[in-house]
Amino acid sequence: MEKIKTQTLFELAKKQGIEEIEVYIGESKSFNVRVYKGKVEHFALEENRGLSARGISNGSMGYIYTENLKAIDREKLISALKENAEIMEASEKEEIHFDNKKCKSIELKNSAIEKISEEEKIAFALEMERSAFSIDRKIDAVNYCLFGESSGGRMIMNSKGLDLCEENNIAYAFLSVIAKEGEKVKTGSAYTVSSRFEDFNAESLAKEAASKALLQLEAESMASGPQKTLLSNEVSADLLQAFSSAFSAENVQRNLSMLKGRLGGNIGVKDLTIIDDPLLLNKAGSRSFDDEGTCTSKKYVIKNGVLKTFLHNKKTGKKAGVSSTGNAFKASYKSPVSIAPTNFFISPGTFSLSQAMESMKDGVYITDVQGLHAGLNVVSGDFSLSASGFVVRGGKMAEAVHQITLAGNYFDMLMDIEGICKDLKFIMPGSGHVGSPSILIGKLDISGE
């Protein structure tokens, strides 16, 4: 990343009565290509750079940001920062730190993929589309088919002497297909996220998307009632991601998490272990330091059912009398420091999918849920989501079901896990990179006919 000179800004800040100041720069360069019917349909070239500053005035932290880096008006920036600090009232104060510790460095940038030509990446997207059509005559359209990659980094510098920079890159492929038979229409999608080009397999992605759509073509609804439920790895990871904010100490301290007061207690079955590991290779959530400059480390959030720790930044750590867990992150340079997981996942068990079905005998296997941004309450843990999947009968996967809903309470569900499979999968990165194996739940409520 291109360094910027902060000295003049820091000096001006001091002169204007700002006690300490910190500058954060986020940067990314990316390209993505979307193909349709054997041709490039859309091509995007993106470069993004933004700067934010936070500074302490009269003991309170103020934030500002700008994307107009070529014409920064330092005076204006400092006065806006002071104005914002002036109205802050939080009882727990944010601080600016430098503890002069060297973080364990990990390789987050794979430059090999950047050397592969754009043509080859376009060819990959075209190959995904071609493969999808070749799988079955019922594949009627490939409505999204894209390959993209992004590289970037963040830089943090403060008036106490902190000066950190980390670069990373990631690539992704995604396709969505439409299967049609008579009046019946179903869609299916698949994706890969990795910084190694060799992890991208056009044919297997096409197969995965196509089979999801094809298997659902004959789906019907089913009767309402409670069911033993096997959640696929993707569905379980979707739910974990949606409820991950309950593990944020910020939400706990703000009285917005059902997990407050549960530290050290059993909040899940004995087999349940949840890990936050920022030091995994080739994972989108990996970081060697967080957005306050704290070194990150691997930690057990739930171990054998016991809640071991919440995720902390410096402020929440101080309030709880513990150290930051290195989970202080901003959603982007535009946002204040908050808390987010890194690579956050349910530790895999030993069951294969078919063993899980055998053990459940009769129930449903849910392979897709929709409406995650709306159909759940992250505070109460209640969820009710549009779902589809398969009936499981006599320990075997039977007919497809759709147009049903899956409802329950996430925190009750963690105490009702009857089996954990070994098929750990990470979903598309969001706030953190979340993964889960498929898990078997004693009872969830299905609504259908």
Binding site: E47, E89, S386, T405, A407
Partner: protein, 462 residues
Amino acid sequence: MLKQNVVMETLDAALSNGADFSEIFVEKRSNQTIGLVGGLVENTVSGQDYGVGIRIIRGLESVYAYTNDTSTEHLKNVAKKAALALEGKEKERVLDFRRRVGIPLMEILKYPGDVGKKEKVRMLKGAHESAYGFSDEITQVRINYLDIVQNVLIANSEGLWVEDERVRTRTSIQSVAESGGEMQTGHFAPGASMGFEFYDTIDLDKYARDASEMAAKMLHADFAPSGKMPVVIENGFGGVIFHEACGHGLEATSVAKGTSVFAEKLGEKIASGVLTAIDDGSMPGQWGSAGFDDEGLKTRRNVLIEKGILKGYMVDRLNGKKMGMAPTGSGRRQSYKHAPTSRMTNTYIAPGKSSFDDLLSNTPRGLYAKKMGGGSVDPATGEFNFAVMEGYLIENGKIRKPVRGATLIGNGLSILTKIDMVADNLSFGQGMCGSVSGSIPVNVGQPALRVESITVGGRKER
């Protein structure tokens, strides 16, 4: 924002490898957020977004590039690099610009920047007091305030030059009620395309009390029922049902590829005769409004469905080209980081002739969905879902005991024929809609209506 010659040279560089069309979108946007937790200001950020998006079209192919570095040389380089992704024979000429500056749909009386932060905080604290003081069971209140002034310049190689300003503000209030180890929430978030004067036109304290009332009610409510049943959906944000069940499927984004369940159905009867639906981006002051769309066309009122007959789609420039249809002022994008595409603005079901009481008295048993949350849809299959946050059982045509949230699911094509009664009390609700071109402000609206049968995703067998 950018000088005319810079715009001209950038548009020209974008056409350098041969193309039919080039467009530049310059955006300068000031944002101010203030967050209160427990009545105290916990965070406040002000900032400026500034960037340029360049779009090039040749035939049905498009390239989009964006950058925050708006120096002339850099912009020309970005445009040239983007142009390399397309190869064409003919090089179009950039025409002279016909300048148009947007006349505000509504005069802004109090620019957000002219109102002191302390005054904003004072108002939010008042709302906190109203929400927190509602009952002893309210244990937390979170308030997030936002104001935006977005200035855009849209120019293209056909000579279009449009400057527009969009001013918006919104305050979201979330109350948490707690008792006996259980927590429930209530939520309201009014917003408008107005300045700070918006808060003179609404009673924010009432919204705050309503959020707390909802949380407290849900704390003592039973689970919602499961299975198919008639549902009476309240006016205002209830319009989310049309937004998901049908609206997305009428966006050219999915119609152009023939992948929407509503493709090739113009002129056909697709809904019950009581249903008329409109998308109108030109409504003064409304949350989803703007004088011009993000491709520089004047926004307007588009009738989508009239008495059950499909009348039109929401069309942007590129998809219009694919469909052989004129754009409808529906091209929208979150920011310069997104290529525009057809999106909804203020979408609503027109008032009908029934009264709210008629809806209830014709429903011996069912669910009354009072407060809705968001939803989603797969336009290819028409399968949609949306959340009910606060519900009540209907028994013998009367509203009875409250029930907790549940998701409602269905298929767009079939649900439109099942909306069998529409009341006369149209109102609107505000939301953020996420799709291909990012997250944008939209209004949903409707009078109360009745769906004769829909699957309710509750947890209680009847």
